[in-house]
């Protein structure tokens, strides 16, 4: 159970702090040694300090965002221009973020839920289960820049030419929405898998046994009993995965082609969008910051503010799901942090 679901009280009945201890004045900090008092002050300072830093980040981005964000920016296409006034808005990066999120979660969800189901419910042969668990751990620990390099290595093979486009000289471009989405699904996989697996492990055995006693096969139990009961865990996992996809810059930088607008490829509607190149809010912020190729900090602030709003919203959803789940009284399996 995660203590970070807001209304879990980890200390039971023994009170929350020295000054509020229900047993009286015995443990007031004025009776402590100096070194202990110093540690107390430092602990308070770090805790409050971190909260202040978070507040400062949100407030600063909010101030700058409100300063530079106009609703028109959300709905106008970006233009190539050397002045901030003429460079348009960020509709295409916004759509790019949404599209990549959809592609990433669509690819990650069946993989993650399937793996979690197999590992908890079946898991034979044992060595394969260990290999699969270790590989998901490896993916969780891999830097996203290495996953981007992997994507570049794989999708520039001529086998995958239909997934992007081929330049006149015969080189496979190797960058498109479907390719970036596929690699982003890899980074959304571990949190989704962990959340689903924790949920499945927390379902009490008697529920499964009851279903078996009623004559249901294993797969029917999974479909009708287990999956519905881990719905909120999957929802938490999806939200965590979405927030990782939205916040990723390195994979998108290397694998989406970095065109300002969504540049469709080919003539089949739908498919041409998957093969398109484009940008997302994160690469838009990066490109417009003093580190990228443009130098438009105002647009960067505006887009970063929108990004932060998305992330805040996702956080709220996770908190809401955690609270609803805890209040329904089911044991265990709360959502953890990223």
């Amino acid at each position: 159970m995660s203590v970070l679901a807001s209304d879990v009280r980890p200390l039971g009945a023994s009170g929350t702090g020295p000054a509020q201890d229900g047993h009286g004045r015995r443990s007031s900090p004025w009776s402590w040694r100096w070194s202990d008092r110093f540690v107390l002050v430092v602990a308070w300072a770090t805790g409050i300090g971190l909260c202040l830093i978070a507040a400062a980040i949100v407030v600063y981005m909010g101030v700058r965002g409100v300063e530079y964000l106009r609703p028109g920016l959300l709905f106008s296409h970006p233009q190539a221009s050397t002045s901030q006034a003429g460079s348009g808005g960020f509709l295409d990066p916004l759509l790019g973020t949404l599209l990549l999120t959809v592609i990433g979660i669509t690819l990650a969800l069946p993989l993650a839920v399937g793996c979690a189901l197999w590992i908890t419910e079946y898991g034979r042969p044992g060595w394969l289960a260990r290999v699969v668990e270790s590989s998901i751990e490896i993916v969780a620990g891999t830097p996203d820049i290495v996953i981007a390099l992997f994507g570049l290595a794989v999708f520039q093979l001529s086998l995958f030419a239909p997934l992007s486009f081929t330049a006149q000289g015969g080189g496979v471009y190797g960058r498109s929405f479907i390719i970036a989405g596929a690699m982003l699904s890899l980074i959304a996989l571990p949190p989704l898998y962990a959340a689903t697996r924790d949920g499945l492990q927390a379902v009490p055995t008697h529920m499964r046994e009851a279903a078996f006693a009623l004559g249901k096969t294993k797969i029917a139990t999974i479909r009708r009993v287990l999956l519905p009961s881990v719905r909120s865990n999957v929802a938490t996992g999806v939200t965590l995965g979405v927030s990782r996809i939205i916040g990723d810059t390195a994979i998108v930088l290397l694998l989406l082609g970095e065109t300002l607008r969504i540049d469709t490829e080919g003539s089949i509607p739908g498919l041409n969008l998957l093969r398109a190149t484009g940008s997302t809010l994160t690469t838009y912020v990066y490109s417009n910051s003093p580190a990228g190729e443009g130098a438009a900090p105002q647009k960067a602030y505006a887009a970063a503010f929108v990004l932060l709003v998305f992330v805040l919203g996702l956080n709220l959803i996770v908190t809401r799901i955690g609270r609803a789940h805890a209040s329904t009284g089911l044991s265990g399996a709360g959502g953890g942090i990223v």
Binding site: M1, S2, V3, V8, P10, S14, T16, G17, P18, D21, S27, V39, A43, T46, G47, I48, L50, C51, I53, A54, Y60, M61, L111, C115, W118, Y122, L128, A129, V131, I136, G141, T142, P143, I145, V146, I147, F150, L152, A153, V154, K218, I219, R223, I246, D248, T249, L253, V285, Y286, S289, A291, P297, Y301, A304, L307, L308, V311, N315, I337, V338
Partner: protein
């Protein structure tokens, strides 16, 4: 046919399908390691292990790689990436060294010391810190912290004292380490808080009954008991710090320079580059064969480090297993 698929499957088919899905995930990961290693092979073959060591100017070597795009000669593959390796080690070690005490103290604060109202605010706030995208950290770093350090912290005298070796612009080690610490601390806090909360209350109450004040009770009992969790959190935080590319590329100054501690305070302001930020810096040139195998060699090293970290964490936790509490 859709109807036939929607009827309940036999268990055997279901098990095989789910097993195939899991196998696919495992195969993808193995493919990742193999592909990166294959693409990195030319650099390793031409340099042996000396590519990790110091030697010629790295920037000249990379410029040379970019200039020889078709059929590069063997000399184009020469690489001495020590400044990058050193930069990665420096930022990671410093950030983790700062993050461990900060996160342990903050976790103790959240779980033990904070009144209920403060805790109710602190938990979502710290969860928010963990989910802020790294590009936003980088943006604040490069637009706020770097100019501040460059204009108000670095004195003209300090700039002049190293003027023949390197330029100090504010983007450098200090800003990088500070932001990196802020990024990895929430990850550690999450794990450590969870572990602290799962220490049985009776242990702590026993210590208090023996006369320890609550803070000492925590230190004597809970912190020792959650050592596996602290190790796990440190491993996770180190992996994150190792792999951070975008934020570091934005605030580290982009020079393959190895900051020297002997320079005193100036050491904190010297620019540097890490393996991950170098990949981002040079990724556009990936079509030049020599540069491509170099970048993949960096990626392979990062992958290898992440793997080694997991193994180390596992090994460190083994003897601590007797302290494992069940929540």
């Amino acid at each position: 046919m859709l109807e036939r698929l929607r009827r309940p499957w036999p268990d055997h088919r279901a098990e095989l399908t789910l097993g195939a899905v899991s196998l696919l995930v495992g195969a993808i990961v193995i493919a990742m390691i193999v592909f990166v290693a294959i693409r990195a092979w030319p650099t390793l073959a031409h340099n042996g292990l000396s590519w990790l060591g110091p030697g010629a100017n790295l920037e000249t070597q990379i410029a040379n790689m970019q200039a020889t795009s078709v059929n590069p000669p063997a000399s184009a593959f020469k690489l001495n990436a020590w400044p990058l390796v050193y930069g990665t080690l420096l930022t990671t070690v410093l950030a983790v060294a700062l993050a461990v005490p900060v996160s342990v103290l903050s976790s103790v604060f959240i779980v033990e010391l904070a009144p209920e109202g403060v805790r109710r605010i602190a938990i979502p706030v710290i969860r928010l810190l963990a989910s802020v995208p790294s590009v936003i950290y980088g943006l604040i770093g490069i637009l706020v912290l770097v100019p501040f350090v460059g204009n108000h912290v670095i004195t003209a005298h300090e700039k002049a004292s190293v003027q023949n070796v390197v330029e100090l612009t504010g983007a450098g080690l200090a800003v990088t380490v500070v932001i990196l610490t802020v990024m990895i601390t929430p990850i550690m806090i999450a794990l450590v808080c969870e572990a602290l909360a799962s220490v049985p209350v009776s242990w702590r109450e026993g210590a208090v009954a023996l006369g320890l004040n609550p803070l000492r009770a925590v230190r004597a009992v809970a912190l020792r008991a959650i050592r596996p969790a602290i190790v796990a959190a440190t491993v996770l935080a180190t992996a994150r710090a190792l792999g951070e590319a975008i934020m570091i590329q934005m605030v580290s100054g982009g020079r393959s320079f190895a900051p020297k501690p002997v320079d005193g305070v100036i050491f904190l302001f010297e620019p540097l580059r890490t393996l991950a930020s170098a990949i981002v810096d040079f990724h556009e040139g990936v079509s030049a064969p020599a540069l491509r195998s170099t970048l993949y060699a960096f990626g392979l090293l990062l992958l290898f480090s992440a793997l080694m970290l997991s193994v180390c964490g596992y090994l460190i936790k083994l003897p601590l297993r007797r302290y494992q509490t069940n929540g």
